[in-house]
């Protein structure tokens, strides 16, 4: 593991994202959101080529932004309060009932549930629906905020579920 390199499915903590920069008269108003956790969703090969690219020779391999998705504490997610004050509370989910079990078993395409063997790591859940991009250099400058990296098999599982989710085709409910 190269500690200077970002890998697919690396989880970062306390990542700031600028929402808006507005100039009002003589004031600059900045809105930003600090995400407790985000996960990098780029393909391994793209991250590899970006990291190894010679800036003078291989400009097509460089990445401008990285794709990330927010990762929430599962306990907050279950009670519908995982977005804090940013969005209204969601419907509570009972982990022992069908909807909760489906999410924990990763049967709901939108979400990916993560449970770690370390007792100091809480249960987490990725929400693929809210993926966004973050400046590549910004994330590299904040690489010290990397919380953990995943093993290959788990990376591929997350990556495949993300690609399945974003390639889904929504059909109308009523056919004519």
């Amino acid at each position: 593991l190269n500690l200077e390199k970002i890998y697919q499915c690396d989880i970062f903590e306390n990542i700031e994202v600028i929402e808006s920069l507005d100039i009002n008269g003589s004031k600059l108003d900045i809105k930003k959101i600090i995400f407790p956790y985000v996960i990098c969703l780029n393909q391994s090969c793209d991250l590899e080529n970006d990291f190894n690219a010679d800036p003078d020779k291989n400009k097509n391999s460089k990445l401008l932004h990285l794709a990330v998705a927010p990762v929430f504490l599962f306990e907050k997610f279950l009670i519908g309060q995982h977005w804090g004050d940013i969005f209204d509370n969601g419907t509570p989910i009972n982990r022992g009932k069908t909807d909760g079990k489906s999410i924990i078993n990763n049967e709901v395409p939108r979400y990916h549930y993560l449970k770690f063997p370390d007792s100091d790591m809480p249960e987490l859940i990725i929400d693929f629906k809210h993926f966004f991009s973050i400046n590549r250099n910004f994330l590299y400058n904040n690489i010290s905020k990397r919380h953990c990296s995943m093993d290959d098999l788990f990376r591929e599982n997350i990556s495949q579920r993300f690609s399945n989710y974003i390639s889904r085709i929504g059909l109308p409910e009523h056919f004519i």
């Binding site: 593991l1 500690l3 903590e13 306390n14 929402e19 100039i23 003589s26 004031k27 600059l28 108003d29 900045i30 809105k31 930003k32 959101i33 600090i34 995400f35 407790p36 956790y37 927010p70 929430f72 504490l73 907050k76 309060q81 995982h82 977005w83 804090g84 004050d85 940013i86 770690f116 063997p117 370390d118 010290s144 905020k145 990397r146 919380h147 953990c148 990296s149 995943m150 093993d151 098999l153 788990f154």
Partner: protein, 58 residues
């Protein structure tokens, strides 16, 4: 097979980040406002070009 590798990371020092670390339960929106310097204010009011920015900074 280990399913993740935990890294030894340096402690965070930024005050604002420390605040969020203490509360890192949910995303937090932070709104802040800064007074612009006269030079930037002129640029923003006049919608100046790069050339005029250079003039102002001279």
């Amino acid at each position: 097979m280990e399913d993740f590798i935990k890294l030894d990371l340096p402690k965070l020092t930024n005050n604002e980040i420390n605040i969020s670390v203490q509360n890192k339960q949910v995303p937090i929106r932070i709104e802040s406002s800064y007074e612009l310097s006269p030079i930037i204010k002129n640029i923003s009011e006049e919608n100046s070009t790069v050339e005029s920015r250079e003039n102002l900074s001279m």
